[in-house]
Amino acid sequence: MTALVWGLEWRIALARRRLFVLNTLVPFLLVVPVATGAAPAVHASVVYAVLFAIFSAFGSAIPVVRDAESGIAGRMLRGGISPSSYLLQRAAAGAALDALQLTPALAVAALGAGASPERLLVTFGVLTGTAWIGNLIGPLVAATTRSLAEAALFTAVGTLLLLHMSGVFRTPLPGSYGALFEAASPFRALHESLLSMSLPGPVGGVGALGAWGLLLPAVIAVLAGPITRSLRGVIRG
């Protein structure tokens, strides 16, 4: 299968120029006051982590539900796009677009934190990986919802829960279940890399991010059929 969906997502994103600019401008404008306001690094990294994680997950789940509701997803799947190609190529394109659109915001955050180019590069890589995870979570959430409102709610709750389990809001006690969850969480690396732009140190959770980045697409590839049937609303009568 050629990268038809990947190419389609880019063509649509570039054709919707206003939305592209807004997606770039809004996170940038949200980051600017934090980056230039002398916020403590610990607080600033929390704000950035929440913003970037929710941006990716929302940006995936809601369009998936919208396209399922409009029927275009069903047309693509019936028209020859395989379920796994539809979900994975879409997530890959979404992650690349998210990374691109968040780059100005990340650059401002790095400038505000006085990060070295190497730290910025590491954080950009982690951000792209996190966007990949966020875009893979989107279809999973979308498959369990019946409307845009439900998708928004489930995405917000799910992402915040994952962020919490990643130790973004509170560092868990060593040896606790919370610490175990944190070690395995996909969003820990994002938080720690953002923190390390101000307070250089080792970035934890990169291994977990990589593992999720491989595991989640495999799960989606296996479940692609049921997920897309749910999205299409194929109903036995």
């Binding site: 050629t2 038809l4 389609l8 063509r11 649509i12 054709a15 919707r16 396209d67 409009s70 029927g71 275009i72 069903g74 047309r75 693509m76 019936r78 028209g79 020859g80 796009i81 299409r232 194929v234 109903i235 036995r236 009568g237």
Partner: protein
Amino acid sequence: MATAGVLDASEIGRTAGMVQAAGLRYAYRSGAPVLHDVDLEVRVGEIVALVGPNGAGKSTLLRILAGDLVPGAGTLELPARRSAAGRVMLGYAAEEGAHFESLSGLQNALFFARAAGLGRAEARAAVAEYIEALGLTAEGQQRVSDYSFGARRKLLLVEALAHRPALTLLDEPFAGLDQASRVALINILRLQAVNRGTVVVASHDLVLLPELADRIVFMHEGRVAASGRVAELLASVGRTTRFEFDLDRRPEGLEGRLRAGIRVVSDGDPLVLEVNRGQGALAEACGALVAAGAVVRSVKVRDADLAEVFRRATGSEFEP
């Protein structure tokens, strides 16, 4: 129009039935049954029209054939999803279909042609050919969000047909089309059938369907009410013409006062008489009524057309 790319019988993997459905039932979640034990066989290279009023179950049947719905009971045999050559075997245009609104019609059609397995150059050629044939050339480069209803309908048809599917399912294909596009569509579908493409359309259009369909399947309240070739169906209503009379005065014992050859089909209001078809049939029926003492206010001719076939098969008027 080019014929290259039309799948042959070996790719279809079956030579007799392209679609074989038996005892199909479907009910929506609300519980209301939509299809009751529907049987349908469509042969390779055949054009079949599903005809019936709203709610007859035509679109539901097409959606089942397209794989959008799964029947609650019955058996269904369809061609493989893809041919050995990797082509998508199905082309389906629902009555309404979503598009990528921010892209042009050409980009939309190219995407679906490529998804169906056509190479880049082949997709371009096929899409250009169908866009021109259906009169969409002027709008081809415009964003779909700027399209009229008719242009959207044409684009749906281009997307369903450009990969020359083995089985084409079209729901109300003539809706929103101008006369030239209707004729072009009929020609495209006839050519497709000549090249062993199979077509199932759902439509209300009893004027155009006889020009297109090899066989007509009348559906009514989720059941197949009648089916056959157009000539067979017309022959089934006999060599008679029916007239509906509104009478200002109705003499007593009318039936007994009409001469042989004129039959009362319904003695209600309106009065329906059946007379052997011919030039003088109307005069004969009117004359017989007047002679019997009736005063005729108005008369409707119900010739042996497809609407009459439907009416006789179902007892209901065909209301498109």
